[in-house]
C-alpha cells in the first residue's frame, strides 16, 4: 500500500522533507502503528517521532486519532499541536 505522507512544522524539520510517498508494510494498521514504524526508519525519523503522543495526524485532510485505521488512506499528515489564530 503506497501512501503520501506530509509533515509540517517541527515534524517536517526533523524528518528533513515536507512529503514523501512510502510503501507501508503489512501489519501496520493504525496511525499509531505507522508512527512507531516510521520512528524505526532512521535517526531523523526517530527524532521526529520520539514522542508520538504529542504528534497530531490527519487522514485525507481530516483530523484523526492515533487508533484510526490507515486502510484506504491517500494522504496522511503528521504535525505538532496547532498554533494558528
Amino acid at each position: 500500500m503506497t501512501i503520501k505522507l506530509r509533515y509540517f512544522a517541527w515534524v517536517r524539520e526533523r524528518v528533513g522533507k515536507p512529503e514523501e510517498d512510502i510503501e507501508v508494510p503489512a501489519g501496520v494498521g493504525t496511525v499509531a502503528e505507522l508512527m512507531t514504524w516510521l520512528a524505526s526508519r532512521g535517526e531523523e525519523y526517530a527524532h521526529a517521532f520520539a514522542n508520538p503522543q504529542v504528534i497530531r495526524a490527519a487522514i485525507d485532510r481530516s483530523h484523526v486519532k492515533p487508533q484510526t485505521p490507515i486502510k484506504g488512506a491517500g494522504e496522511i499528515a503528521f504535525f505538532p499541536p496547532m498554533t494558528g489564530g
Binding site: A9, A58, R61, M82, T83, G85
Partner: protein, 159 residues
C-alpha cells in the same frame, strides 16, 4: 435565511473594515456585526520579537475552517461569516486573522465569533514560528486554548 460565508487564506494583508462593510452595504436587517482582528504582538514571554512565520497545510486549512463556519451557521442565526487567515511572514502590528460575524442581535454574533476563534486556535492546521534575536522557535500550543475550545462542546447555542 441564506447566510453569506467567505473563507480565505492569503499571504497579503487584508482590510478588516472593508471586509466588515461588505455585510451591511445596501441592507438594514443586520443589527449586530462583530469584527475580531488577531494581531501580531511585538513581544513573546516578555522579549521583543522580529516576526512570526505561519506555516499551514494547504487544502486542509480551508476545509477545516469551512467545517467550523458551517457549524457556526447551524448553531446561531447568522446572516454572514467571514474568516480570513494569513500565512507567511508577519511582523508586529500586522493582522494575522480576521473573523466577522453578522446577525440580527449581538448574542449570536459575539458567540459565533468567539467559537470560530477558539476553533481556529486549536483545530485549524497552522503553526507559528517566532523570530527572536536571530533565532527561530516554534510556538507551543497552550492548554488554555484547548480549554477555551472545549467549552463549546455540548453547550446550547445562544438565543
Amino acid at each position: 435565511m441564506t447566510a453569506l460565508s467567505t473563507v480565505r487564506l492569503q499571504r497579503e494583508p487584508f482590510d478588516a473594515a472593508a471586509e466588515a462593510a461588505k455585510f451591511t452595504r445596501g441592507r438594514s436587517d443586520i443589527g449586530a456585526l462583530v469584527t475580531f482582528n488577531g494581531i501580531c504582538r511585538g513581544d513573546e514571554a516578555g522579549e521583543p520579537i522580529a516576526a512570526l512565520t505561519l506555516e499551514h497545510y494547504p487544502g486542509m486549512a480551508e476545509a477545516e475552517i469551512e467545517r467550523h463556519v458551517a457549524e457556526a451557521l447551524a448553531r446561531w442565526p447568522l446572516m454572514g461569516v467571514t474568516v480570513i487567515h494569513r500565512y507567511g511572514r508577519i511582523v508586529p502590528g500586522e493582522d494575522i486573522v480576521l473573523v466577522v460575524t453578522a446577525s440580527s442581535h449581538r448574542a449570536a454574533a459575539f458567540a459565533a465569533a468567539e467559537f470560530l476563534m477558539d476553533y481556529l486556535k486549536t483545530r485549524a492546521p497552522f503553526w507559528k514560528q517566532v523570530e527572536k534575536a536571530g533565532e527561530k522557535t516554534w510556538v507551543e500550543a497552550k492548554a488554555t486554548d484547548d480549554a477555551a475550545a472545549g467549552r463549546w462542546s455540548g453547550r446550547q447555542a445562544a438565543e
